[in-house]
Symmetry: C2
Subunit: 118 residues, 2 copies
Amino acid sequence: MSDRPLQEPTLLLLTALADEPRHGYGLIQEIDAISNGRVRMRTGTLYGALDRLLQQGLIRVEREEVVDGRARKVYALDETGRGVLAAETRRLRAVVAEAERRMAAHSTPAVRPKGALA
Amino acid sequence: MSDRPLQEPTLLLLTALADEPRHGYGLIQEIDAISNGRVRMRTGTLYGALDRLLQQGLIRVEREEVVDGRARKVYALDETGRGVLAAETRRLRAVVAEAERRMAAHSTPAVRPKGALA
DNA sequence: CTATATATATCGGTGCACGACATATATTGT
DNA sequence: ACAATATATGTCGTGCACCGATATATATAG
């Protein structure tokens, strides 16, 4: 269990599972929607990541079903995974806030009118 | 210029450079401080990343100096890098917000007392 | 005089993501 | 009737960022 920071595809996967269980192909579509079409997760990334997350115990196979003659595996976020996602989210919020603070505090900004806020 | 999402060490590097120029070893300390000691950037990661970011034109070598008999290279964030950091920050803020929204909207939450907030 | 802090740099290994390919069924278009 | 696209899961080789170890050198602290 390397507590290395999650890469973005993995983060998006856990995010897409945070509200309710979904199957692989559904995750691709959901992530496409979440990111407004910017991120198109590849099947190579997806199924590899799902296997890894299963092995790490962050997700589980909720059930297998057949819809319209096509087999599906439905994955769900485990409590462990929920914890990891919550922690990662807090971490990233802090980093983002820090980045924004520093960009605003940029030491050599263009002409600063007197009385301007930091 | 592969517009692939930044990994966290790289994001932290740009963040640490966002307010003012710093040298390599100073970046390690700064990142240690930003993350409250959680992230200890390795020199292998650092100098590799600095080379890469220089080549991508996201940062530049501001100056070289000698302090207490030790040589330093001071790196600064370029305008391009500032733009990338700003974009990445916006992106991540959206993902974090989405993750939090979904965790709150979790479909099978533990016993919810009537009238309880999400 | 040794250990630690400051400072830069290289190198081999690992792990995650990417892109291409493979397979199969259902639906839509011509 | 046939082709193309959407749905659905999966494998495999490659690339690249990060990690851990190692190397080098000067200054300061014990």
